[in-house]
Symmetry: C2
Subunit: 213 residues, 2 copies
């Protein structure tokens, strides 16, 4: 398999974690988002949507991090990232989507660029926007994790799932932009538990082949 990734792309990071949890080897293909490599003709032939991550599995090309992880989980079921009953999977997926749909899309590089270039939003207001969506979204995730009985050592029970693959990259982003994480003790406890595992350590941005100083 080949994974088109960028070290700071949190959607790519989700897939790197899933591949590592399942012990699946792959070739890392770097796409430098800040240099707009995703918009070049070369990458357009790889990904019609010009987004990372993109997985190539033989002739199969798959985009969208959550679709990639579901695909990997179907073909390589151990360890399961969507374990349990339909209701368990619904909880895991909804936690992942609480981050992937409510937080992350608002803080994408192309969105921040639009704010600054087209709406002439200054650096400070841009950072306030970033923190607003992270803190609002993670507060909702914290309320769920702190109150729902299925929360365990990790987001769902005592083994890592899809939800943890999505949570951890979002915390990296939050820390980079100095978001307030003190009001999120359950989120941060789970983050620390994940980061104690090699699959999360070895795939973090600073450990990627294309990491910059």
């Amino acid at each position: 398999m080949e994974l088109y990734s960028y070290y700071r792309s949190s959607a790519s990071f989700r897939v790197r974690i899933a591949l590592a949890l399942k012990g699946l080897p792959y070739d890392y293909r770097s796409v430098h988002l800040v240099k707009n490599e995703q918009l070049g003709a070369g990458y357009a032939s790889v990904s019609a949507t010009q987004l990372v991550p993109q997985l190539m599995d033989g002739a199969a090309r798959i985009g969208q991090s959550l679709a990639i992880i579901e695909y990997l989980d179907e073909l390589h079921p151990e360890p399961p990232l969507l374990p349990g009953t339909a209701l368990d999977r619904a909880r895991i997926r909804s936690l992942a989507l609480d981050i992937a749909c409510e937080i992350h899309p608002l803080n994408n590089l192309r969105v921040l660029r639009y704010l600054m270039r087209d709406l002439k939003v200054g650096e400070e207001a841009k950072n306030a926007w970033y923190r607003h969506w992270v803190e609002l979204g993670l507060a909702a995730v914290e309320r769920r994790l702190a109150s729902e009985p299925k929360t365990g050592r990790f987001c769902h029970g005592d083994a890592t799932t899809l939800a943890d693959c999505v949570l951890v990259p979002q915390i990296f982003n939050a820390q980079r932009f100095d978001c307030q994480l003190d009001p999120m003790p359950t989120v941060m406890r789970i983050f620390e538990a994940c980061m104690a595992l090699p699959a999360f350590q070895s795939t973090q941005p600073s450990a990627c082949p294309d990491a910059e100083a």
Copy 2:
């Protein structure tokens, strides 16, 4: 089952379509987003994230439209909304996420409010923002649908899937904000094919119990 919904919420519309395609009855519970009913104490006890849609299935509470549809598809497999092989499902999910993660979150009511109230963006620039993300995102979906051999009468093959449940509500939003849809003939062909079906007709915003003139 009970579905907490708002007639103009496109995420709610996705679930209404899925329930209709599967012929599942439910009680419609209206949450008026413009009146901020989702932020009241009453709804906070229903949904920890204070978002719609929310499905109640006996004691089970499930948020996030895509997680709800996957849950319904697992428990009520006919007709399947994620048919075929793992690769088929990956394609269907990635098309759904190309809309649910790349377009819709940027045009949510709360995001538009932030632009206007906090960033003092004017009406015209707000509408330009809206159209920008819809047109950019749908252009990517059009490229995929027009070029990928699995596209059929609907997004994936000749039966409706999760991808159609997500595409159709996005087109309603696009039309409401006068987005350019002429450059998207495949998207619009599939939209029309869906709207010829009772499951899409009967669940559209104007057909909801809480629809306003």
